[in-house]
């Protein structure tokens, strides 16, 4: 069998993957760019001064009046992107001279999730006023002004977990106290229902391919994640092969194409502790047009919730028992929850999660491509409990 050097991908191999796994155009673009750049240098640390200069260069193309940037500092959180907080002193349209706290969110050389800033920017703009999202201001979609593609966000207020709660990296293992579960849980349901019933046909989301009814959206998604597995994995995993074959043979058609958040879960929303209001839904980078059951299944994963005080009842997002969660969703959205499709997307989601943490979570730090290789490498260890979960799910369907 011919050995492919995935650390130095040849143009022929890249082209082979593009043909074998056709997916959305913008996703194809970012995955192809990732491979074309892979043999290049590893991620080199950037300074706050460099990011400030790049941000100023970007803003000069967007603002006609003088501005200054101050108070730059690093933010932590998340396993994927670099984040710099800063204050912009400017003449804000409709407001006048202002000092606005903002966040620059920039890709590293390769991220644990290789995604498009353009898609992220467009979907957040589209969802503004529908569900709480952080204000988005400007985008450097192709890294023309900054070292890598980036978005300038407003500084959303709130916390991802109770101030007194603990959790491991990336929000996994957060505990939600009983007294706030109902209020947060209902918003969690309502915002998902709004997202899934949003009329995307009229939205300005040109970086998204619009799937036909049937299985087209799912085929693109399967191609996307199998391509990621092929591009990034080191050790082949027989169970992943078996799972992908099953997923392809059992594709359910979609009855209602929805905006899918792609990472809808505890840890990816901010809420203000004084009034328990969800103030922003974060991390839309995995969004696409597809089947709502992906978000429903993903949000209900064991890793993104915990048991109630009785030690038996699993609480989705630490807030609601699964039956209650799905019943409320059906009422809020007017859309049915199909148990068979939930089961299908349980498998799909684990395949996707393992492709991210085991394949990309290995390849990116191996080549020194991120700003936090040690965190990404650590996270790759969660692959094995996920694979075990996938194994038990496969045992149920085979």
């Amino acid at each position: 069998m011919a050995v492919v050097d995935k650390n130095r991908p040849s143009p022929e191999w890249i082209e082979h993957l593009r043909k074998r796994y056709p997916c959305e155009q913008e996703i194809d673009r970012v995955l192809t760019r990732k491979l074309e750049r892979r043999a290049g240098p590893p991620y080199a640390p950037v300074t706050l001064d460099l990011l400030q200069a790049g941000t100023e260069a970007l803003l000069r193309t967007q603002l006609s009046e003088p501005f200054t940037i101050s108070d730059t500092r690093w933010l932590s959180g998340g396993a994927s992107k670099l984040q710099m907080a800063f204050v912009l002193h400017w003449n804000q349209p409709g407001v006048g001279r202002s000092s606005t706290p903002l966040v620059l969110r920039m890709e590293p050389s390769e991220a644990i999730t290789e995604t498009s800033r353009l898609r992220e920017f467009q979907i957040i703009k589209a969802m503004e006023g529908k569900v709480p999202v952080p204000p988005t201001y400007w985008i450097d979609a192709y890294g023309e002004y900054l070292p890598y593609p980036a978005i300038v966000y407003g500084f959303a207020e709130g916390v991802t977990k109770p101030s007194k709660s603990s959790s491991s990296v990336s929000g996994v293992g957060t505990f939600i106290p009983p007294e706030i579960r109902e209020t947060l849980g209902q918003q969690f349901v309502d915002h998902l229902a709004i997202t899934h019933t949003f009329d995307w046909q009229q939205a300005d989301i040109g970086a998204y391919d619009r799937p036909a009814a049937g299985t087209e959206a799912l085929e693109w998604a399967l191609n996307h994640w199998e391509r990621v597995w092929e591009e990034d994995s080191h050790e082949d995993v027989p169970l992943m092969r078996l799972t992908m074959a099953w997923l392809r043979r059992n594709m359910p058609p979609v009855d209602h194409v929805s905006v899918i958040h792609g990472d809808y879960r505890l840890g990816n929303f901010l809420y203000t502790e004084h009034d328990l209001r969800i103030s922003a839904w974060l991390d839309w980078e995995l969004g696409y047009l597809g089947d709502r059951h992906e978000d429903l299944s993903w949000s209900a994963k064991r890793q993104f919730g915990h048991l109630a005080e009785d030690g038996k009842t699993f609480l989705v997002a630490g807030c609601l028992p699964i039956e209650e969660y799905l019943a409320r969703y059906e009422r809020a959205s007017g859309l049915k929850v199909d148990p068979q499709r939930m089961q299908y997307y349980d498998l799909f989601n684990n395949y996707k999660a393992i492709a991210i943490v085991l394949a990309t979570g290995y390849r990116a730090p191996l080549n020194g491509k991120t700003h936090q290789d040690v965190l990404v490498a650590w996270l790759s260890g969660i692959s094995y409990p996920l694979l075990e979960e996938l194994r038990t799910q496969m045992a149920e369907v085979l």
């Binding site: 069998m1 050995v3 590893p42 640390p45 491991s168 080191h234 050790e235 082949d236 995993v237 027989p238 169970l239 992943m240 092969r241 078996l242 992908m244 074959a245 392809r248 043979r249 085991l358 290995y362 730090p365 191996l366 020194g368 700003h371 936090q372 290789d373 040690v374 965190l375 990404v376 490498a377 650590w378 790759s380 260890g381 969660i382 692959s383 094995y384 409990p385 694979l387 075990e388 194994r391 496969m394 045992a395 085979l398």
Partner: protein, 178 residues
């Protein structure tokens, strides 16, 4: 199992070099010095780890040679009588171990990797076949293999704590003996 030292150590070095050490107080000379030494030690480990097994085999072989010389030349010296008797026991044990020492770990890892790839391709190819007893048996074999492998992999990484303290994972040592 992807989390092996050849993958982990460079990530540790990069984190220390790019993020942690630049943030250490320049006035704290003890922390500065030890930080630099940790990085240097990790570089040394990363460089020598692939050779460690060969090194130990070579060392054993060389000591066996020295022991042979001592036995040959010391046999006539009564002062060595007791020591040579003890030495003979350890030489015998050493030769037995050296005779069992097999291929280098890197070769074992590369062979596993190649076999995984071929197995994966065969599984994908089997998915193209019509359902029948043979494909069912293949699926069952993959599932059984996955169960065993995943128990081992999860036990290997139990210390990370992903499954909590009550996961009931056996000690990995009990899973990798023949």
């Amino acid at each position: 199992m992807e989390l092996r030292p050849s993958f982990q150590i460079p990530a540790l070095i990069k984190s220390l070099t790019d993020v942690v050490l630049p943030a250490v107080d320049p006035a704290n000379k003890l922390a500065q010095e030890q930080g630099q030494l940790v990085v240097a030690m990790l570089h040394l480990m990363a460089q020598r780890l692939p050779l460690q097994y060969h090194y130990d085999c070579h060392e054993l072989k060389q000591f066996l040679g020295l022991a042979d010389s001592l036995a040959a030349h010391g046999a006539a010296l009564p002062e060595l009588g007791e020591s040579l008797a003890a030495l003979a026991t350890d030489v015998e044990a050493g030769r037995a171990v050296l005779s069992r020492a097999g291929v280098a770990p890197a070769e074992l890892e590369a062979t596993n990797l190649a076999l995984r790839t071929s197995v994966g391709a065969a599984i994908s190819a089997s998915a193209m076949a019509a359902d029948g007893p043979d494909t069912k048996a293949i699926n069952a074999a993959v599932m059984a293999h996955a169960q065993e492998m995943l128990l081992r992999e999860r036990a290997w990484l139990a210390m990370q704590g992903w499954e909590g303290p009550n996961a009931g994972l056996p000690a990995v040592e009990t899973l990798i003996g023949d």
